[in-house]
């Protein structure tokens, strides 16, 4: 089987999955208690007025028709409106997804840059001080709630040392955000060669990314350690030693390259978790992202954004799985060339 066919197969599998996701999101909306027309009409509306609004919202139509309208609306980018911001939910999302994505990517980079080397070193220097230290760090990351890590980092680096900015968003108040290209401030600032914005956005990104990176690092380190230990015992690594390859090449070439294949899956899971689950850290650092938005919407009982957030998380996981499958195919010839 060629790689082309593998890709096509994965892509085709996404279609029924997405269909299922919208069906579930719709059903949830439909099953939720409370009549949206009643909410919209207000407490003092007459029954006739409520019926009128129901008709206008299509709530009197058969369920399949309602689902059809919901799906075609989604395809047109109609996610409904937010009653608290008074804007289309899509607009709000478009503003906040880049903020969350930027924080997610930065946290992933922190986790990968620290977690993977630690995993490799732990495996290579198994049962030494280094191995124990890395395990301790991992336990710390898992055991410490991230709001606590965040506050601790703020206390030290903002309050005591004064090297971090106040936790007030993505960029200093007196710096204009860079011209929007992707919406990721760091990337946009780089692309537009905007030095001031770059420094300020990196400065603001630093602590929240450290907080989240620290929180998700442990499983990464543990997995790399375990797979490396297994692979270092494998026949092909022994064969590489026997062929006289240098130590670095055996460990970082032959062994690590194989050990990273299962890590792709874990990175996908962590990515999804960070995109959907960094509510707490966004609150601590007043980061204007999706989690922040979802919590605000929950507290103001704003149904549009909440439903869309659920849908977004589901769709994102589907796409992350697709990405993981494709990366697997690229990384592992046994999958690509069956």
């Amino acid at each position: 089987m060629g790689f082309g066919r593998y890709v096509l197969q994965r892509l085709l599998l996404v279609i029924p999955t997405l269909f299922g996701v919208t069906l579930i999101a719709f059903t949830l909306t439909y099953l939720l208690p409370g009549n949206p027309a009643l909410v919209k009409a207000g407490a003092l509306a007459t029954p006739e007025h409520v019926a009128e609004i129901e008709r206008r919202m299509g709530l009197d139509r058969p369920v399949p028709v309602q689902y059809w309208r919901y799906v075609t609306g989604l395809l047109r980018g109609d996610l409904g409106e937010s009653s608290s911001t008074g804007r289309p939910v899509l607009e709000d999302f478009r503003q906040r997804i880049p903020a969350t994505l930027e924080l997610t990517l930065a946290s992933l980079i922190v986790a990968v840059a620290i977690g993977i080397p630690f995993g490799v070193l732990s495996a290579v220097h198994r049962d030494t001080v280094l191995d124990h230290l890395s395990r301790l760090l991992g336990v710390g990351g898992v055991a410490m709630p991230s709001f606590w890590t965040g506050l601790l980092l703020l206390y030290v680096f903002f309050y005591l040392l004064g090297v971090a900015p106040a936790p007030l968003g993505r960029i200093a108040a007196d710096v204009t955000p860079p011209t929007r290209i992707l919406g990721l401030y760091v990337v946009d600032a780089l692309l537009t060669a905007n030095g001031t914005a770059l420094v300020s956005s990196l400065h603001h990104l630093m602590l929240p990314a450290l907080t989240l990176g620290f929180a998700v690092m442990a499983p990464l380190t543990r997995m790399v350690r375990a797979t490396m230990l297994e692979i270092l015992e494998s026949d092909y690594v022994t064969a590489a030693w026997a062929a006289g390859l240098p130590r670095r090449r055996v460990i970082y070439g032959d062994a690590l390259r194989n050990a990273l294949i299962p890590v792709i899956t874990l990175l996908g899971v962590i990515f999804g978790f960070l995109m959907a689950g960094n509510v707490v850290v966004e609150m601590v650092f007043a980061w204007p992202g999706l989690g922040h938005y979802a919590v605000t919407s929950l507290m103001t009982k704003d149904p549009g954004p909440i439903q869309s957030f659920v849908l977004f998380v589901a769709v994102m996981y589907v796409l992350v799985n697709l990405g993981v499958d494709l990366l697997y195919g690229l990384a592992d010839p046994r999958i690509r060339l069956r």
């Binding site: 026949d235 092909y236 064969a239 062929a243 006289g244 390259r257 194989n258 010839p333 046994r334 060339l337």
Partner: protein
């Protein structure tokens, strides 16, 4: 013939949680230039550990406790890790038991060979590729250009073993360690691989240490043979001499266990199992399985004794003194 490799009193222990595993115990043998020495013994007798120890590839919890491995006049046990690495692949190479798992799954087989040319001979990438194709041809792989671009999982077991042999012989080593290179292959493929090894050994003048659990293989391709039991060598000598007159009771049992069509004798399995290598008792490790066990066998470890011009045996019960007269 001069000796390419002289192994003296090689001892390897594994310090496991269950206790000290004395996997290789005082092993002594020579490999002469250009010969094929068979190392034969049941599974678990320490053959693989011996081969890995020669390359100093024993990892913790194992370690070489004592002994000397004199190769081309240098004791490998005394070399630094960097000096040892220069020996691996270039002077001594190894072919492994399961070729499919001994090839890296994410590198093309061609790359796994060509990088050795680059590393050990300073070849350019293009040169490395050309020499790789030549090497694949040499080990009898058809369509070498196409095969070089494939991965281990796309090749048959026999083909993988040919690739392993090409990899091992790429930089013309003087000694090839082949650890059960035909286990798991079809009989006809196995015969081809053995033929290939013997042929390449002759052509390049490299010596081969051929590990096997099959005396039939030894009879077919080896010049001399060392019989290993429970981490010790019990008998060593010319293949012809040992087949004609095995002296150690274990060798005798092994020879009797070869299925033969030309003789009307039923094949006899060897009684008992390889004894535990966890803190083995003093004396001969074969004593509990031996039909000719004496009192002294349980007390003293038998030292190797010359029995014939090219035959040594480590056994208290073997009749060595009158051997030359009979032989």
């Amino acid at each position: 013939m001069t000796d390419l490799l002289e192994v003296r009193d090689l001892t390897v222990h594994f310090d496991t949680e269950a206790g000290l595993v004395e996997a290789v115990d005082g092993v002594t043998f020579n490999v002469r230039s250009g010969e094929i020495l068979g190392v034969v013994g049941e599974s678990g007798s320490g053959k693989s550990v011996t081969a890995l120890a020669l390359l100093r590839l024993i990892r913790p919890p194992g370690r070489i406790v004592q002994g000397a491995v004199r190769f081309e006049g240098t004791d490998l046990v005394g070399l630094s890790e960097d000096e040892m690495r220069a020996v691996r692949g270039t002077r001594i190479a190894m072919v492994f038991q399961s070729p499919r798992t001994a090839l890296n799954p994410v590198l093309t087989v061609g790359r796994q060979i060509s990088r050795l040319f680059e590393l050990h001979q300073g070849a350019s990438r293009a040169e490395g590729r050309t020499r790789t194709i030549g090497m694949l041809k040499l080990v009898g792989i058809s369509e070498p250009e196409r095969r070089a671009r494939q991965y281990a999982h796309q090749l048959s077991g026999g083909m993988c073993q040919r690739v392993m042999i090409a990899m091992a012989l790429a930089t013309s080593p003087r000694l090839l360690l082949a650890d059960e290179p035909t286990t798991g292959l079809d009989v006809s493929i196995a015969a081809q691989i053995l033929e290939l090894l013997r042929d390449l050994g002759r052509r390049t003048g490299a010596s081969i240490l051929l590990i096997t659990h099959d005396l039939g293989v030894v009879a077919e391709v080896c010049d001399r043979v060392a019989v290993m039991h429970a981490g010790q060598i019990v008998e060593v000598g010319a293949v012809r001499a040992i087949f004609a007159r095995p002296l150690h009771p274990y060798t005798q049992a092994l020879v009797r266990s070869i299925p033969r069509i030309d003789r009307d004798v039923t094949m006899e399995p060897i009684p008992g199992m390889v004894p535990s290598l966890l803190a083995p008792p003093p004396g001969c490790r074969y004593a509990d399985r031996c039909p000719r066990v004496l009192d002294v066998c349980r007390r003293d470890r038998p030292a190797p004794r010359a029995a014939a011009p090219d035959q040594e045996v480590a056994c208290h019960a073997a009749e060595v003194e009158d051997a030359p007269a009979r032989g």
